[in-house]
Symmetry: D3
Subunit: 195 residues, 6 copies
């Protein structure tokens, strides 16, 4: 299966005697700017999770570098199995998350503009985004997540770009647009900005 | 705060000597059809969580009845803190969920048509929906969730109906529609089908 | 081994690419009345756990339908690894649980009569029962449990019907009856009302 | 409330600056033989849990000394929130536990005679007992449990000695004895062998 | 008390209606070089944990910036409640950890030299260090930890600089030096390189 | 790998039908005095963990007997994955632990002299020790730990006796002694007092 707890069990565990330092190391190049031009969203997420770094298995943490083109964004998404903490290395970011349904808490949006060195928390499972408001400068962030396999669900991709597509009977009513508009949305190319 | 683990701590705990059977009981009327006409989605979710039934505190479970009008749906949503298991009491349901981003697993849609008595699982944090395909018959389901405070994020509401709205700079690019279309979407009344 | 945490690890996990929608679906017939006449207790529990529905693995939830004959019961039992939440679909139930030993809490019995649509919680590991007080009407409940493998220990069966039997030296003193009475108890046929 | 997770939250936590070494220490006299004559079962359990030793709060462990008279026992019981590990300090013990219902695992009894220095494990939530087979020698054990508030449910006491009693409609059928026998059982004095 | 699980409960939780975006934000200045000259170790750790950023409560993650002077180090230490993942922003680091006692695993040292952009994992509770091998260049790292309150135990400080000091009867034999050497060690000023 | 969570998954789990009582039993001889003369520290730890008693797998508990020669000690060490609770069977012990770095909690030492029957708690991951202050009497303790694979890190051994040794560039500055003193320390024979 493909969610955290099962991955934890599903991934092989080496016998202690076979473990080496390289199980805990990755030459991840997180210092290198990544190409943000291939993604319509204008961002690029390099996530170091247990699939890339076996030593993370069961240790409930992972790390990512995120590059943002000018006016680029890491579009609204969730991590089904993790909270995210983020700091800005370059440029600035307009970030936000939306609370879940609860008595007197109907989808409240919390936003903040982050400058270099600021820290922000996105609680587990909530829809959140980061946007680079600059017209000319890129932005870079380092994020950490509270799972070795946090997963990511980019809302637009999962809703309009799934394989196969979600029935437009469902989506047209859910998003209150006519089927033609929905078909047009589904006809877009929904790429993934995650490495 | 407003997410599970904190709710657990945040909710008061009675001293043992003050606990009574009524802390574990709720006259929830889960046998009664609920009104599905007030929701554009044509559904009504009655969730019995720790805010309604104090004895659930820390016990990692809750239960819900879901009513679906003909052609009604419980639109694409996630539970940030719970897996859901569901069985159909009346009618039939077309259900599905979308997997998260993972190597070779780009947003795969899994769907099934459920008849009375069938059981289906929606893994934690994944976007899922239930749709009543009938033109004339209502449907009813009983669901259980693996948290006393699972939370629910209705995607369309959280993305297009948050308070305040998400900047259309963000949404227009994220959903690849022009700002006018986005403003129109945001102008809809996004109500909540959860009780 | 045979208890939850080990089952979680002990059950095979499919590689993501081999998972299909049928791993999350079961045609469980929870809408169908089950035969309550084969059980002396006059009840029948149909539990959908990870052994029947592989997709539940690690997801900490399961669901059951319970049928009760008139004057039938789900006799005193515990779930070693789960809390139970229950709602009544048909008829009514007299339910209860007994608290564990604690300062000033010596085995206090909490009971309630549940009608259709009511919800009740049985906290993890506590001895509980459901009894159908009606002379002529069956009762039906849907329950959910906070483990994919909650286990069930029917007290009378485990104490008097184990294989091999518990020494009557132990039981006679524990239950304060003479060995003859104990031997008679152990001679009963202790069947299991769980499917 | 009165079960583990809630106790954890329910118990007050001192501010770091107010903590002293005495929060982690108890003059528990676990070296002293305890009186086993007051209990019909012929045993005495001295449990050091979070109610007695505040520093255990949230640390998921507790410890007990158990004294057994000749032919005395710690009668069939469960710990709803803990596994138990036990070693024999004096004498010998005949111990056992009964597995929960599972496919092909109907209430299997596992037993062993333990001598001084032996170690045995009783998995979480399973019914277990310890019996001193000697006609003339006491026995002593040290046990540890995987919760700061494991709880204990002595089966006979909880079933036949609860306050108020469980309806004999329920018990007579559950234990397959007539109501007169059940009333006699319930008329016994069911004391608690736990300190 | 003063360790993680208790802090989680011990820290106040706001009511949902009182939460604001500032509970999830900190102007932490993680982009600014920190002064490494005040610490004999030649390093400076700026940890953003739940005491500084309340929104982290219960979310099991925290983040830190670490500055290293030329030849400076983050000396051997442990995090009693967290795994650490680290990436190098500037310069290079020689890092290592020592495994715990286990069959055939007697305190094996694993080391690696990290360059900019490399990622390394220090498993929970193991003694680890980072050392800047450069004679003239500072180094900078960003680390994340799998607890909102990971704690840090700098070995030399805790062993030789505790308040009050550990008895030199204990330390002299533990470290196999004479008491005079031990008294000299304890006479050093053991400062803390953590902010 | 070689730390707890992975061990849990890494260790094989038997199929229920293959489990026998011997998976839960060990003739551990915890009643027998162990030889404390082979260890310079003058102590001997006999730990019953999941590697010795397979039935402990996933059950989060283990048990140990510790023997102390006159003036012997269990030198400063940590358990990376467990809290320890201890009671004294013979003699007396001077015990202590050092708190982790936290605001206003710089490495505070908590100590107590324990007599027979006293109980003490060493919170997870903190450096602690036990010392037998008697010139002529041995001491014996029984301890329990909140993991089936708690691990143990003897500070002096891990820091000065690792394989290979930690660079004396690192240690000399960390411990503020010259390299010659450090080389002398590393030249000692660092044996392990754990069985």
């Amino acid at each position: 299966m493909f969610f955290n707890a099962v991955r934890v069990n599903g991934l092989p565990c080496k016998d202690a005697k076979d473990v080496s330092v390289d199980d805990f190391f990755l030459a991840a190049n997180l210092d290198k700017p990544m190409d943000t031009t291939k993604s319509k969203a204008g961002s690029n997420v390099t996530l170091i999770n247990v699939m890339k770094l076996a030593g993370l298995n069961t240790l409930s943490i992972s790390m990512a570098r995120i590059d943002y083109a000018p006016k680029g964004q890491n579009p609204p998404h969730t991590h089904p199995r993790a909270t995210e903490i983020l700091t800005v290395l370059e440029g600035s970011l307009y970030v936000g998350f939306v609370t879940s349904n609860q008595a007197n808490r109907e989808n409240k949006l919390f936003t903040k503009t982050l400058n270099k060195g600021d820290v922000f928390v996105f609680p587990q499972g909530l829809i959140h985004f980061q946007f680079n408001p600059s017209y000319d400068k890129p932005a870079v962030a380092i994020a950490a997540l509270s799972s070795q396999n946090p997963g990511a669900i980019t809302i637009a991709n999962a809703v309009f770009g799934s394989h196969p597509p979600i029935s437009d009977d469902v989506l047209a009513k859910a998003f209150q647009v006519d089927k033609k508009a929905m078909d047009w949305l589904q006809a877009q190319f929904w790429e993934n900005n995650h490495n």
